[in-house]
C-alpha cells in the first residue's frame, strides 16, 4: 500500500517545514473545522440551544435599548407632536379684551383648538388639583379677589415645529391684555431627561450583560476544551499545529456568539411586535405619531457581528486559560 518515502539528505531542523500550499492548506483546514463544528454542535443540540438562549437573552436588552435610544433621539429631533402653548391674560384685562383675544386666536391658521379658561374655572381647577386643601380655600377667601388670570390653551396643528411655536409666542406677547405666553413642552422635556437618564443606566446594564454573554461563551468553550483533552493529546502527537488545535474552539465561540445574536434578533422582533399596539394607543393619547424604527438590516447585521465578536472573545479567554498542547 505504501509508496516510497524518500529519505532526504539535508541537515538541520530546517527540513521540518510545510511543503508549500499554505493558502490551500489554510482554507482546507477551515473547511475541516467548520464541518467538525457542525457535527460537535449538532451532537449536543440541547446544551447548544441552552448556550444560544443564554447569549441571546444577554444580547436582547442591549439591542432593545439601542432601538429605544435611537427612536427617542429621532423622535425629539424631528418633533412632530401637536405643539401647544398657553396664553395668560393680565389680571386686569377686561372681559372684552379676553373675548377679543379668544376670537383672534381662533381665526389664526395652523391652530387646531383653543380652550378658554376663566379665572373662576382656573380657581376651581387649582382647588381641585390641590385636593380641596382647606388652607388654600381660606387663603383665597382672605385675599377676597381671585389671584388667577384668564388663559387660553392653544393646540396647534400636527407638524408645527418649535420655531413656528416660538414665532407665535413672540407675536402674541406684545398684544394688549397678554401677560405671558408659555410653550407647553414639559412632557417632551421630561421625556428627554428620562431618556438621558435611561440611556446612562442602559449603557451600564448593557455592558454588564455583554460581559455576561462573553462569560457564557467562555464557560461553554472551556467545557468543550476539557471534553476534548484526549483528542488534543492525539492531535498534538500526530502533528497538528497549535493553530489547528485552537481553531475548533474559536469556531465554537463564533457559533455560540452568532447563534446568540440570532436568538436576540428573534426575541427583539417578538418584543417589538408585542409592544407596538399599546405604544400606538399611548402615542394617540399624546396626539403624536409614532413608528418604531431601527429594526433594519444593518441593525440585524450589527447584532450578529456583536454576538460573533463576544463569542470569539469568550473562546480566546478560554484558550488563554487552557491552551491545547501536547
Amino acid at each position: 500500500m505504501a509508496k516510497r518515502t524518500k529519505p532526504r539528505g539535508d541537515n538541520g531542523s530546517e527540513r521540518w517545514r510545510p511543503r508549500g500550499g499554505y493558502l490551500r492548506g489554510w482554507l482546507a483546514d477551515h473547511v475541516r473545522v467548520a464541518s467538525d463544528t457542525t457535527l460537535f454542535i449538532s451532537q449536543r443540540m440541547l446544551s447548544s440551544l441552552l448556550v444560544w438562549l443564554m447569549v441571546g437573552v444577554a444580547l436582547t436588552l442591549p439591542g432593545l435599548l439601542w432601538i429605544a435610544h435611537s427612536n427617542l433621539q429621532t423622535f425629539s429631533q424631528q418633533w412632530q407632536g401637536n405643539a401647544g402653548l398657553t396664553v395668560y391674560m393680565k389680571l386686569n384685562a377686561s372681559d372684552a379684551a379676553v373675548a377679543d383675544m379668544g376670537e383672534r386666536l381662533r381665526q389664526r391658521a395652523n391652530i387646531t383648538r383653543v380652550e378658554a379658561t376663566t379665572p373662576e374655572q382656573a380657581l376651581q381647577q387649582m382647588l381641585a388639583q390641590s385636593g380641596d386643601s382647606e388652607f388654600l380655600r381660606q387663603a383665597v377667601v382672605a385675599v377676597e379677589t381671585n389671584p388667577l388670570p384668564a388663559s387660553f390653551a392653544v393646540v396647534l396643528d400636527t407638524g408645527t415645529s418649535f420655531l413656528a411655536l416660538e414665532a407665535l409666542r413672540r407675536q402674541l406677547l406684545p398684544e394688549s391684555g397678554v401677560d405671558d405666553v408659555v410653550i407647553e413642552t414639559t412632557w417632551l422635556e421630561r421625556l428627554r431627561d428620562l431618556s438621558d437618564f435611561a440611556s446612562r443606566v442602559g449603557a451600564g446594564l448593557s455592558i454588564m450583560l455583554l460581559l455576561a454573554a462573553v462569560m457564557v461563551a467562555f464557560a461553554s468553550v472551556r467545557i468543550a476544551i476539557e471534553s476534548r483533552l484526549g483528542e488534543l493529546r492525539v492531535l498534538a502527537l500526530i502533528g497538528a499545529t497549535p493553530a489547528q488545535m485552537r481553531r475548533p474552539f474559536l469556531y465554537f465561540g463564533s457559533a455560540y456568539g452568532i447563534g446568540g445574536g440570532f436568538v436576540a434578533i428573534v426575541l427583539i422582533a417578538v418584543f417589538l411586535n408585542q409592544i407596538e399596539a399599546p405604544l400606538l394607543s399611548l402615542a394617540v393619547s399624546y396626539q403624536v405619531g409614532v413608528q418604531i424604527a431601527g429594526f433594519t438590516s444593518p441593525f440585524l447585521l450589527v447584532m450578529l457581528l456583536l454576538g460573533w465578536l463576544l463569542g470569539v472573545l469568550g473562546a480566546l479567554l478560554a484558550l488563554s486559560q487552557r491552551t491545547p498542547s501536547a
Binding site: T5, G12, R24, I238, P242
Partner: protein, 229 residues
C-alpha cells in the same frame, strides 16, 4: 550517519523514579530495531523522547541531526507528521468511527477527500479491518483497537515509525502480521523502532534488539555481533 541518536540521555521524573539512565544509542536510517525489557525498564520513555513528548533531563536526542527537544512550536508539528506513533494505550477517539480515527493524520495535512478515502481503506486492509471502518472503537475488541492505532500510525507513510507494544493484545498470528507490516515499511525506507517484551516474537526477526533494564541499556545485539566478529 545515524538517523536516530541518543547521546547520554537520562530522564529522572519529579517523583524521583529514573526513566532512563545515561543511554547512548545510534540507529541507522531504514533499519528496524526492537526495544525490549521488563515493565518499567524505560521503553515508553525512550520512544516518547524521540517524538518530543518527553524531555531528557540530560543528554541529547537527535533525529536526522536535529535536537528534538529544541524544535520550536513551528517545527514540531511538521516533524511529528513524518513520524507514525503507536501508543501503548492506543488513544483512539471514542466519538469517531474507525475510519475517521485512521483518517486523522491525513485530515490535518489537507489531502483531498478521495485520496484520504483510498489511503485509509488501504491502511485498514493491511491490519485486517477492511469491513470495520464504520464502527466505533467501543464496538471493537482490544486487539482490533490496537490494530486501528497501527493503521493510524502508518496511514501517513511516515519516515519514522515508533510503536509501543503494538502486539500487546494480539494473538501470535496477528502479531506476526503486524511485524511483517513494519518490515514492509522498513523495506520502503522507513526507520522502525518497536518496543515489545514479547521475546519469542522478536528474537527470530533478524533485527537488532536493544535491551533496557531499570533505565539502562544493558544489551545491544549489534554490539554482540561486533564482538562475535
Amino acid at each position: 550517519m545515524s538517523f536516530l541518536q541518543l547521546q547520554h540521555v537520562s530522564r529522572r521524573f519529579d517523583n524521583g523514579s529514573q526513566g532512563l539512565a545515561n543511554v547512548s544509542v545510534s540507529i541507522e536510517q531504514g533499519s528496524m530495531v526492537f526495544l525490549t525489557g521488563h515493565s518499567g525498564a524505560g521503553k515508553s520513555t525512550l520512544l516518547k523522547m524521540l517524538i518530543g513528548a518527553e524531555q531528557p533531563t540530560s543528554g541529547r536526542v537527535l533525529v536526522d541531526g536535529s535536537d528534538v527537544s529544541r524544535l520550536g512550536s513551528k517545527q514540531m508539528p511538521w516533524f511529528r507528521r513524518q513520524v507514525g506513533v503507536v501508543l501503548q494505550d492506543h488513544n483512539l477517539l471514542e466519538d469517531r468511527s474507525v475510519f475517521d480515527n485512521v483518517a486523522l493524520p491525513l485530515r490535518i495535512t489537507h489531502l483531498r477527500a478521495k485520496d484520504i478515502e483510498r489511503r485509509v481503506r488501504g491502511a485498514l486492509s493491511t491490519v485486517d479491518l477492511s469491513n470495520k471502518g464504520h464502527l466505533f472503537p467501543r464496538h471493537l475488541s482490544t486487539g482490533e483497537q490496537q490494530r486501528v492505532g497501527i493503521a493510524r500510525a502508518v496511514v501517513n507513510r511516515p519516515r519514522i515509525i515508533l510503536a509501543d507494544e503494538p502486539t500487546g493484545n494480539l494473538d501470535p498470528y496477528l502479531s506476526r502480521q503486524v511485524i511483517a507490516l513494519f518490515h514492509q515499511f522498513r523495506d520502503l525506507g522507513s526507520t522502525v523502532l518497536v518496543a515489545s517484551h514479547d521475546i519469542d516474537l522478536i528474537k527470530d526477526q533478524g533485527c537488532r534488539i536493544l535491551h533496557l533494564s531499570q533505565g539502562e541499556l544493558v544489551q545491544d545485539t549489534a554490539n554482540l555481533e561486533q564482538a562475535a566478529d
